[in-house]
């Protein structure tokens, strides 16, 4: 690989101060450091050796954790498609259908976001950050398979610009970028990202593709028990607990399979890239709120067994991949527990008590993103108070 490195080194002066393409230095840096970890050594004072980790590797770990959800999502898009047509199809047919739907979404998200990232890196003279490796993969996975590509591009550009770059880039953002993209579409083009018709690609017009959460809301409005309502033939899908866990249900591309997401969760926890506290807190919060709802059971949605909240909709995906975004989450140990638990509680509240939004996890996480600094503020303040108390002894 020496020839490649020599080739790059030869181009370098052009991008350095005084070079012809000086303003594109960080674009060059991004490309060069992608291929080669630079030969930079530690300074003469301070630590003389450094940990083998770097940000690229951490981010790549998240991307790898997303792969099971992505692959399952591709197959499931095909599965749902052929189910809606009532046709038999082979595994490969289904997978291929999903592939053709999903790959353009992924490419558009990476390209649109990447361009904004590069433009800002060049203009604002900051390194092009690895964080977008993850964001660019998260955005497609929270989109329905029927999403128009121009909307993906628009939402990604909006999110990278408004949620990240205006705050100073990676590490400075308040909101989770992928969820900002989704929320943007949710409020600007609700018809294309919510409702009963967007979750199955290429379905016939007469086909109702309502999700479990949508049906649960309808059942509650009708005063019928959710599980009875679903079993009454109102839907073409199998919404049994098994299907919800395996993920053979309509939904956003990557959010349906609790098993595939669970594999990702294990990868994130074993590699300690994501916070166990946040994940566990979110799950515990949802269980607690689900049980409280069940205890009061004022309507049929409230009496839905609590575990449905963990396996339906985007809860698993949100808890594993979105809530644990280290930048927008709480940063302190205790804060992470509080942050996670509140996300879980909020998700169930929004789902059950807010008729306008069938899914609650997205809004719950965004809300808690905003609250996270406040949580940390109080946790850190408690630390300061402990120290102050000592000083006056």
């Amino acid at each position: 690989m020496k020839f490649l490195h020599d080739l790059l080194e030869k181009q370098k002066p052009m991008f350095e101060k005084g070079g012809k393409l000086e303003q594109f230095y960080y674009l060059f840096e991004a490309g060069e450091t992608f291929l080669f970890t630079p030969s930079t050594v530690t300074k003469s004072k301070g630590v003389q050796v450094r940990d083998a980790v770097d940000l690229k590797r951490m981010m790549m770990t998240v991307v790898i954790a997303l792969v099971p959800a992505l692959l399952f999502g591709m197959w499931n898009v095909g599965e749902m498609h052929y189910l809606s047509l009532g046709e038999e199809a082979s595994f490969m047919d289904k997978f291929l259908h999903g592939l053709i739907i999903t790959i353009p979404v992924v490419l558009v998200a990476y390209t649109a976001g990447g361009l904004v990232e590069v433009a800002f890196g060049v203009i604002r003279k900051h390194p092009i950050n690895e964080g977008f490796l993850v964001t660019g993969m998260l955005i497609p996975l929270v989109m329905p398979p029927t999403i128009p590509l121009w909307q993906v591009a628009l939402a990604t550009v909006f999110a990278v610009l408004i949620a990240k770059e205006i705050f100073g880039g990676t590490g400075m953002n308040v909101l989770n970028i992928a969820l900002t993209a989704r929320a943007f579409l949710y409020f600007t083009y609700p018809g294309d990202i919510s409702g009963d018709t967007v979750w199955v690609s290429g379905a016939p017009d007469s086909f109702s593709g309502a999700t479990f959460l949508g049906l649960a809301q309808a059942a509650s409005n009708g005063g019928v028990a959710v599980t009875d309502y679903i079993a009454s033939g109102i839907t073409n899908f199998d919404f049994s607990v098994e299907s919800l866990v395996i993920g053979t249900i309509p939904g956003s591309i990557g959010e349906t399979s609790v098993i595939a997401i669970g594999i990702g969760a294990i990868i994130l926890l074993v590699t300690r890239v994501a916070s166990f506290r946040i994940m566990a807190g979110t799950v515990l919060g949802a269980i607690a709120m689900g049980l409280v709802m069940q205890a009061f059971a004022a309507n049929t949605y409230m009496s839905l067994p609590f575990y449905y909240h963990l396996i339906a909709g985007g809860f698993a995906f949100g808890a594993v991949f979105m809530a644990t975004d280290p930048v927008s989450a709480a940063h302190t140990g205790a804060g992470k527990w509080i942050y996670g638990v509140l996300i879980g509680i909020m998700t169930v509240i929004i789902r059950v008590w807010n008729p306008a939004y069938p899914e609650g996890i997205m809004l719950a996480i965004l809300l808690m993103n905003v609250m996270a600094p406040l949580i940390d503020y109080y946790v850190v303040n408690a630390n300061k108070k402990r120290r102050l108390k000592r000083a006056t002894v």
Binding site: M1, L4, H5, E29, T33, L35, F36, T37, P38, S39, T40, V41, T42, K43, S44, K45, G46, V47, Q48, V49, R50, D51, A52, V53, D54, L55, K56, R57, M58, M60, T61, I64, P127, N129, E130, G131, G169, T170, G171, M172, I267, V270, T271, R272, V273, P326, V327, A329, H331, T332, G333, K336, V380, N383, K384, R386, R387, R390, A391, V393
Partner: protein, 449 residues
Amino acid sequence: MSVNIKLKKGFDIKLEGAANLSVASVDQPETFAVKPSSFVGFQRPKMLVKEGDVVKAGDPLFFDRKQEGVMYTAPVSGEVVAINRGAQRRLLEVVILKDKDIEYREFPKVSVDSLIKEDAKKTMLESGAWLELVQRPFAVVANIEADPRAIFISAFDTHPLAADTNFVLKGQEQYLQAGIEVLKKFTSNIHINVDNSSNIMAGLKGATINTFAGIHPAGNVGVQIHHVDPIRSGEDVVWTLTPQGLAIIGKLFTEGRYDTKKLVAIAGSEVSNPEYIETYVGARLDKVLSKKVSGSNVRVISGNVLTGEAIAKDGYLNHYDNLVTVIPEGNKPRFFLSDGWLAPIFNRLSFHKAFGLFAGSSKTYKLDTSLNGEERAFVFSGQFEKVLPMDIYPTYLLKAIMANDYDEMEALGIYELAEEDLALCEFIDVSKHDVQAILRRGLDELRLA
């Protein structure tokens, strides 16, 4: 009251090339140097000698105009052969060509019982032994004006490849005890923190003996202070010193001379047959290194790999160090698939467990000086807290320092910290910040404000 504390947090960096417990027979170096850069916070030197002067061990060479009275003295006797200056005439080092037999400046030999505080202080200030007293907050040479509330000595070193305290102090028990008696003139509250009861300092009288168990940084005196009797404010002064510094003070009063003889470990993966040498403070290292180090693309570090300073192969040992580490330089690019950021890594240690990092702290490693990445914004949280066994939020403190927020720095506990306490944070940092340099910037701003 003595305490017994177990620390769980931290991280051990085990390196190849630990020094064997033997003393190499090498000739003493010809020259020795006193470097102001050894003393954090040193500001404006006033020279007391010029080239060609002849000095005895313990004779003053220069002092800091900002803290008159503390003499920086000659570790050996001989001729001042060079006063090296850098950019803007900054004093780099005063070099002494050592006599064959060292002549010592005579200091009064006194029995410690009849010694009074003022005399003890005067002798220590004049002889240079005062330099062994490092005060917290700020981790700088102790201020003459302020008496310490307590004195803390860590009797063991958990840094990578650290010199073995029991070995380097063998036979010096009487000096250590005398040192304690001298320090008791300043405060009766002296804490010696040992790792176990077989530590050479566990038997000393007149001090509180605390026991600390745990991985690095359990041996850091700052961490120990935090758990025994924490520093409460910027005016709450405690002194710290190394065991070897304590022996120097003890010897000064029992023998009447400033004798800086010490054992120094020569260690690291690039050293053949790593072992100790017997020399004096400020020794030039080229003789021993030319014998023991054959490679050329290596880094010589005065001190350990976490807090040390890179010096030239013919450079001089820093004042407080009793370890020289030699490791390979890491100045080569790494292709991302073969040994870069996507490749599985078995031979480069990591605290993290991210994808492909298979090297944990159970083995010994040959680490080089590569940064192993690029500097980036803070992204991951909660990592620093795992290697700092103190009730402190390092990331918030670092951000307060970056923002020059003095009140916040104080409230978040900056007075309890020195560079060495956050060195592990710097090592594990995914975003490759210069954590220790940032901390020192904050400490300096508060100290000089």
